[in-house]
């Protein structure tokens, strides 16, 4: 019991300390410290890449979005009111850039590997445990499942279900109100469930 409490406390202290360090780092970067911004890039890049990769389903496009987002963050960092809002704000920039990219790719890529992808999905679902997917498979599956969703539904589904961002934060990131977020998530879920029922 004592060990559990100690571990929990140390975890909380670590989390608090990490947040403080990030806050200080961001405050220094707001004053134009490029050296410290490299550390911010190091910490932010995986988070931005994850959301961009999942929304766009394309590794190269996601890498470009990461670069563009980090440059925009540097340029506009002085405009955020407080360092606490940094994460939500960074997500917001990335998601908006993903929207732009999705608009550019007006014609949806034709998925020629539908049958193959459904077979992969079927295998993974029927397995006992959970096996992590490689990037290529991951992109194929997300593209297949979210192909019929609108850009907003896709963003809400990915942020809520895959990135585990709370609804309130999603509302701030996407500029929607909470009920719109919930509605979009509901339709996205229904759509994916019906696909899974139809093809599996």
């Amino acid at each position: 019991m004592f060990l559990f409490t100690f571990l929990l406390k140390s975890r909380l202290i670590y989390k608090y300390f990490t947040t403080l360090v990030e806050k200080e780092l961001i405050e220094e970067c707001r004053n134009g410290d490029l050296h410290n911004f490299r550390k911010v890039v190091e910490k932010t890049t995986p988070m931005i890449f994850s959301v961009a990769f999942r929304i766009l389903g394309d590794e190269d496009a996601a890498r470009d979005i990461v670069q563009d987002t980090m440059v925009t963050i540097w340029q506009k960092l002085s405009r955020i009111k407080t360092a606490e809002t940094y994460k939500t704000w960074a997500y917001r920039i990335a998601v908006n850039k993903c929207y732009d990219q999705l608009r550019k790719q007006k014609r949806q890529k034709e998925n020629r590997y539908n049958d193959q992808t459904w077979a992969i999905i079927s295998n993974h679902i029927s397995e006992e445990g959970i096996t992590e997917l490689e990037n290529k498979e991951n992109a194929q599956i997300i593209n297949l499942l979210t192909n019929k969703l609108s850009n907003k539904q896709k963003a809400v589904f990915i942020l809520s279900e895959l990135e585990e961002v709370p609804a309130g934060e999603i509302a701030k990131i996407t500029g929607m109100n909470r009920s719109a977020v919930k509605a979009n998530l509901y339709y996205a879920r229904k759509n994916i469930e019906s696909l899974l029922q139809k093809y599996l």
């Binding site: 911004f37 890049t45 890449f49 585990e164 899974l196």
Partner: protein
């Protein structure tokens, strides 16, 4: 029952996707590229932003800041145009030819005086283009004017020295006056 199966499949699928975090390879390369791009862009805009930031850095609303910069640029442009216009006018006025009697070369002027007069006149020639003469032509004109003055003084001296000649000339001038019509 069917609903539960659907729900389970969905939950399992989402769980698989959630656990499969996209793997970002060559992260260092992306970080370097980001820093390179920032340095390139900051070099591009550093001159402008160094000038703008101290003046308008206190305005946080983007469109207000841009409007203020726009207004300031217009005001500066108007001021510069106005100053250039006034300067041009003043320069034109200073170039107008204004020659007073005492600025003409005296009859007994030396070469230095002559050059000085020439300089005064040449620097005051009108840029309007009414009269355009070369420096050599102007020098020739001044030489002939000076010669004429010297000859006129010699003539006066000769007349003064000879009373008969003086009387003769005076009579002739009086006669000329009588026949000359009044203007």
């Amino acid at each position: 029952m069917k609903m539960d199966a659907e729900n389970d499949r969905y939950k399992k699928m989402v769980e698989i996707l959630r656990k499969s975090k996209p793997d970002l390879t060559q992260q260092e390369e992306i970080q370097n590229e980001v820093i390179r791009r920032i340095q390139r862009e900051s070099q591009k805009f550093s001159g402008v932003s160094d000038f703008i930031e101290p003046l308008f850095g206190w305005v946080y609303i983007g469109w207000v800041r841009r409007s203020l910069i726009g207004v300031a640029v217009i005001l500066v442009a108007v001021f510069v145009y106005q100053q250039a216009f006034i300067f041009k006018q003043v320069k034109n006025i200073s170039k107008q030819v204004v020659i007073t009697d005492n600025e003409t070369a005296p009859a007994s002027s030396s070469l230095l005086d002559k050059r000085l007069t020439l300089y005064k006149i040449s620097t005051r020639l009108s840029p309007g283009g009414e009269i355009k003469i070369s420096e050599s032509q102007l020098e020739e004109l001044l030489n002939s004017y000076n010669d004429l003055q010297v000859k006129y003084k010699d003539l006066l001296r000769i007349i003064e020295d000879n009373p008969e000649l003086k009387n003769y000339i005076e009579n002739k001038l009086n006669q000329e006056k009588k026949y000359k019509p009044d203007i």
